[in-house]
């Protein structure tokens, strides 16, 4: 074999060899587990802690309130829609780590807006009631009952 051919072959082997070594060392262990990406990324994204606990979690300690809710018009509502995120409260129940909820929450859905579909009951605050609280007349967990 002529020496120049031998040197080219040696160079080629060196280049391919260093590529293979780099690939062996630098490829993450979970690469290719599900496809052309790091499979471990899925577990990493899943490892974050939830902030909203979910309706089931609320029902463990407050079954009576939830029972009222699911029997009435507001049955599709989530507890945390009005009371705010509740995972902290579910982990360690205290009075100050969950929202009491306020009338602003009612208006979020029930204030009149021409873009809203007709099935949702809508009010104009000025002509509806000028008092301070919706709960003077309405029970949020049983909206059609009169207190």
């Amino acid at each position: 074999m002529p020496p120049q051919v031998f040197r080219i072959c040696l160079l080629a082997v060196g280049i391919v060899g260093s590529y293979l070594v780099a690939r062996y060392v630098l490829t993450p262990p979970s690469f290719g587990q599900y496809g052309w990406y790091r499979g471990e990324a899925l577990a990493e994204l899943a490892s974050r802690e939830p902030v909203y606990a979910g309706k089931l979690e609320c029902g463990i300690c407050h079954p009576d309130e939830q029972e009222k809710l699911i029997k009435h018009e507001h049955k599709t509502l989530s507890c945390e829609g009005c009371h705010g995120p509740g995972q902290a409260h579910a982990d360690k129940a205290r009075k100050d780590n969950i929202d009491k909820s306020s009338f602003a929450v009612c208006l979020r859905c029930h204030e009149a807006n021409p873009s809203r579909p007709k099935f949702i009951k809508q009010i104009t605050v000025k002509s509806h009631y000028t008092g301070s609280k919706c709960t003077e007349c309405h029970v949020p967990h049983m909206p059609l009952e009169v207190p």
Partner: protein, 269 residues
């Protein structure tokens, strides 16, 4: 010539089979032990992404524009304050055409103040001039042929086997190609991490058996979420597919979104 069924060969084969039977669980246990090393602490156990196919659907007929979903998404996913949204609500207002203009409809006005997070103010045009108006919740369309996945130069974004399109934050270099590529404007560059971020279908929630935060708080069930591989007996997603005529956003682009919309108008894109 040796007999293929000689005592020696049969005994040998039986022995090998027994050894194989004994070795298989041992090998499996060893593999599991090795895999344990690579599992991130805190990740939900027993979740196999190949056993699920998550889908979201939007029934815009039921959206009342309360903005709870956009707010919940921000809180749940620690999305930076400011104009960064993984999901948001748009208000479409189609005005009446000018008299004698010969047009079927007038102007199309679209707005989304703060992503609809704090609800919507009075419409910018008087009520009498509105032909019709509606809300459309928007999120990642979970395309079958995602342009964002195709353009990523480092392979940081991918289509997970369970139907979510995710970003590996350790791989993302923050070049922003995917943000330009997404025809639905569903991605943004986080000013905190300097990487691209998007809707993950609340991956940390769905892997724990919870619903995504936006679906959880939606008061009217305008957002429907389910698993195609394990449909519940009265699965809301299956009912949605049965009861609605659906469409996708920008079908002419060939991205084949997997988020189906019901009750939207041709102006929605």
């Amino acid at each position: 010539m040796s007999n293929p069924l000689s005592r020696r060969s049969v005994l040998g084969k039986v022995g090998a089979a027994l050894a194989g039977l004994l070795a298989a669980p041992a090998a499996k246990a060893a593999k599991a032990a090795v895999q344990k090393v690579f599992v991130t602490a805190g990740a939900p156990k027993g979740y196999d992404p190949t056993q699920h196919k998550w889908r979201m659907a939007i029934d815009a007929n039921r959206c009342i524009g309360c903005g709870l979903c956009a707010e919940a998404c921000k809180t749940e996913n620690h999305v930076p304050a400011g104009p960064y949204f993984r999901t948001w609500i748009e208000r479409y207002i189609i005005t009446k055409p000018k008299p004698d203009s010969g047009e079927a409809r007038g102007e199309v006005l679209v707005d989304s103040p703060k992503g609809g997070m704090n609800g919507f103010p009075e419409p910018p045009v008087p009520k009498e001039q509105i032909q019709h108006s509606f809300f459309v919740p928007k999120l990642c369309n979970l395309c079958e042929h995602s342009p964002c996945v195709q353009v990523c130069p480092v392979g940081a974004t991918f289509d997970a086997p369970d139907g979510a399109v995710l970003i590996d934050p350790n791989y993302c270099i923050g070049c922003g190609f995917c943000i330009q590529a997404c025809p639905y404007g569903c991605r943004f560059l986080s000013p905190v991490t300097k990487t691209a971020e998007k809707c993950t279908l609340c991956y940390h929630r769905i892997t724990r058996g919870l619903k995504p935060a936006c679906v959880e708080v939606c008061p009217t069930q305008a957002r429907i979420f389910g698993d195609l591989k394990h449909p519940a007996p009265d699965d809301p997603l299956q009912q949605f597919y049965q009861n609605n005529r659906v469409q996708t956003l920008k079908p002419h682009l060939g991205t084949e979104p997997r988020v189906f919309y019901a009750g939207i108008d041709k102006e929605v894109r």
